[in-house]
Symmetry: none
Amino acid sequence: MKVGKILFIVLDGLGDIQYGSLGGLTPLEYAKTPNMDLLATEGSCGLLDPLKPGLPPGSDSAHLSLFGYNYLTEYPGRGPFEAIGYGFKLKEGDIAFRTNFASVEPKNGTFIVTDRRAGRISGEDAEELGNVVSTIKEIDGVKITYYHTIEHRGFLILTGDGLSHEVTDTDPHDTNAPVLKCVPWDNAVNKAGAVKTANIINKFLKEVYRLLKDHPINKKRKNEGKFPANIVLPRGAGTKTNFEPFEKRWGLKPAVIAAGPLYKGVALELGFDLIDVPGITGMPNTNLRGKFSYALKNLDKYDFLFVHIKAVDYYSHKKDLDGKVSILEKIDKELPGIINAYRDGATVLITGDHTTPCKYGHHSGHPVPILIAGPNVRHDYVKKFGETFCANGALHRLRGNDLMPLLLSYVGLAQEYGLRSSPKERIFIPRDEWIPFKL
Amino acid sequence: MKVGKILFIVLDGLGDIQYGSLGGLTPLEYAKTPNMDLLATEGSCGLLDPLKPGLPPGSDSAHLSLFGYNYLTEYPGRGPFEAIGYGFKLKEGDIAFRTNFASVEPKNGTFIVTDRRAGRISGEDAEELGNVVSTIKEIDGVKITYYHTIEHRGFLILTGDGLSHEVTDTDPHDTNAPVLKCVPWDNAVNKAGAVKTANIINKFLKEVYRLLKDHPINKKRKNEGKFPANIVLPRGAGTKTNFEPFEKRWGLKPAVIAAGPLYKGVALELGFDLIDVPGITGMPNTNLRGKFSYALKNLDKYDFLFVHIKAVDYYSHKKDLDGKVSILEKIDKELPGIINAYRDGATVLITGDHTTPCKYGHHSGHPVPILIAGPNVRHDYVKKFGETFCANGALHRLRGNDLMPLLLSYVGLAQEYGLRSSPKERIFIPRDEWIPFKL
């Protein structure tokens, strides 16, 4: 029996809008998904705003919110998660930035961004230029650690005394726009630290440009009509955080099955165990069958199995409607084991971390569809999994932070409010932290 | 005419889940309730999270929330409500605890809980042992007041200077678990007071055990194979609160008809008048007809009539599906007077304070069904009162704190936001508190 076990399946970028070419349906509505439809029929459906209505989540803040962490007070910024995702251990006082390789042209003493991703530079070009930037080891006595990750992406860590994450982005998030000077936030608490940090970032920009502007790779790229990667733009400053572990917060022993570094990173930061599955890639060619079979194999050992599938978002960002429909059908075909676990008493949740309309090619603030099926979940009248169908479901419209309390109720582990002496909505003290009364 | 009058009917523990033995319906869906169905048909239905999605309310926090009080900032803890329910007037500085008689066995210098309710001790055994515990009158210069109420339940008041409610529970809320040492909260504001209070509670535990462990009643119980009541476990510490009166907050003159001490207690604390009805018991044998007829008789005198019926929850806690169905049908039969008042212009609300699935036998975080019918309430397409039917209703999914503002709008008494100079959503100043301008 799998009673009390939770399968938490996130199809990245699942939500979408309706298209005339799909007969006025969304990709999920159009796709043939008999297994998801069975769960939708026997369970409760609804719409979910991962953060709040209309606010497009990043994948990191979305997952934090789905796991019951407050995106406003507990989210450390994008920088730290980029570093965490690649296994970099931040230390107390470190400042982490997400970075992009970008293409700029000097103009009137400023830089104008001609491409925010340096033509989506990748492969050896990106690797070699990354190595050049990594030669910057110190500025003003502060240690500089730059890592190139994949394509135009990377992260930057400042290590030193008296720094602050309270600084602005250098990336204008637009083209034909100037690179922005890094300055302290108006409301910075550690003003001196923010001034120091901003100065270092501005010097880093100058130094990177000096190293890259005439680099042979960039000369070659220009000759080939490609955008040069002649600057690195830091943004999303943040610090090391100390999350309350998921198991302590919710009393459930969690594990993650994911290939994408960001998703693994978030889960590992929250204390999830990582289950390695051969052949998973975070791409459409991933080992879907393996993901689900490893999840099911581990249901005895864990209470909460988080399975993340990135491929849906891959097609959404590529604006590939047919690809999105076909990967959803492919995923559905691999769900019979999940259906069996549900029949055996497990509670199954399927949702997305955000909507990525194929029409946009980027995250939007539309809600995502959600279904929850389990032995103690009321069924409603929704017969098919899809955005519009779910709008008529019994879950109505929830927020990301509602999910964990709801799931605890569904598996009978929720605590009655007020029974315990605490101002908190929920307290869970692991047995090994109990203080026994002594005679 | 009853226009502007509100009948607020709470069926305790109303919500449930669906059962195969009821043809896939919940007890409320299965029950024949033509009168509730008439109100559902002519009014608006929906689902209600008394506190928030997934959080199982206690009966006290649930009612506070339904009456428009914030469960996080205005809830004083379970202890005070236990005392209030039994007519004990807390004074400023008093610390109140809810208590259980429990059964413990000493082991390696600690106590192990063998039963959290001392085998649901009751009758003379409980009364006599309660009297023994009541002989503890003082510890460390602080006055001790212990009251046994019914069965294993009781409350404990500490009266003295420099105490604090910021202390943990001694009850582990589990069996084969150690009695927990009472310690200050990590984030206690009055740390010294919390240390003092915790010490007194720990001494109280020792003293109770000394008095009870070899008491003849416990010896007799052991011989009979029953659990001894050899300790009293305090939990849910809280202080006297000063609620803004309901009438001041909402501008409605309120009265309560309830038998259960906790429900009367909450209403009395908020300034409700108590309407005595002969023969009401808080049990299935209660005088249902009397409750409704006294409510209707008092509609001229009051604006807001709160009628509480406990019997539904009684069967839910007993896991008695048939009993729950039959009490719902019995209640429905007594509603014709309420229907008449509705025809005469009154606004009628029927809901529960929480879901108690018969399958669980305890409170859960599933939402409860709600209906509101009145001359200014839109009707929707729901034809029958029940959890799944209500999920398609026009009220959608509300929270407890939404009800009072909605009801004010339905009776035409809501204030337009911003018309008055105040940061509050609503201000109501009774005429006798108006300060006239003087020349």
